[in-house]
Symmetry: C2
Amino acid sequence: MTDEEATVEMRPIGFVRSPHRDKADIPKGPGAEHHAEGTLELRPELEAGLQDIEGFSHLYVLWVFDRSEGYELVSQVPLDLETPHGVFASRSPRRPNAIGLSVVELLGREGRSLRVRGLDMLDGTPILDIKPYLSGVPAEKLRRGWVAEAEERRKQKGQVP
Amino acid sequence: MTDEEATVEMRPIGFVRSPHRDKADIPKGPGAEHHAEGTLELRPELEAGLQDIEGFSHLYVLWVFDRSEGYELVSQVPLDLETPHGVFASRSPRRPNAIGLSVVELLGREGRSLRVRGLDMLDGTPILDIKPYLSGVPAEKLRRGWVAEAEERRKQKGQVP
């Protein structure tokens, strides 16, 4: 149950088709917004797993940072160039398990291909899982720690956003 | 880049300490709410990765359904006993990659241990990643497909909730 050496092996369920060919294409840091459209393409034998997915407006996508190597426990991130932060308190790609998590808007489905908006992944990124987005934490209940502080500091310096 | 046979190996970053000892303890199906408190315990060598996490009110936890075997592409789920749904349109534990995703409220930190509320995992569940929760999709923009329909059907039948 708590075997710290046990590993888990995962096989991609499909791949992202994205207009982002290079890391530099992907908006990062303060005020980054993701509007890129593309598709999530499942392996043919998994198509049945998409049954009834059309009814959801948003999906969670779990994927692999496959062009990132190794990890750093504490590092500088684009949103805050003054102070380094812990990897579990940031979205840095250099994580002990290189899993990315994105929320995308579902635009439509053709067979085993989902058309989506809001991609922040590179073309060819392996997908590990897709889940329906059912509810979120209301904004008034959220505290966003160093991220909110970094945004506030930028605002005071007249940097936008 | 798109090697469909390539696998990814992951090693748990830590384990969940939860009051849920048995699957039957965990609220499931319509109206299920998760208020259980417990801890996320990291491996000692990863503690530095928690730097500055205290400022966030909510966290994403990615974990392994380690007491679930195999997968079903289409299956019956507790929320809707009338119609089966695709695995990627549901939160079924029997997934091609058995990854669970939960949002928990962060209550406090002692060293490498995070006290949290809202656990829906069993005691001893392996954790793959922890990420800060930064924003959600506003409720008015969400469509919740078969989940909303199943809730509506139950309401019309006088079943609560």
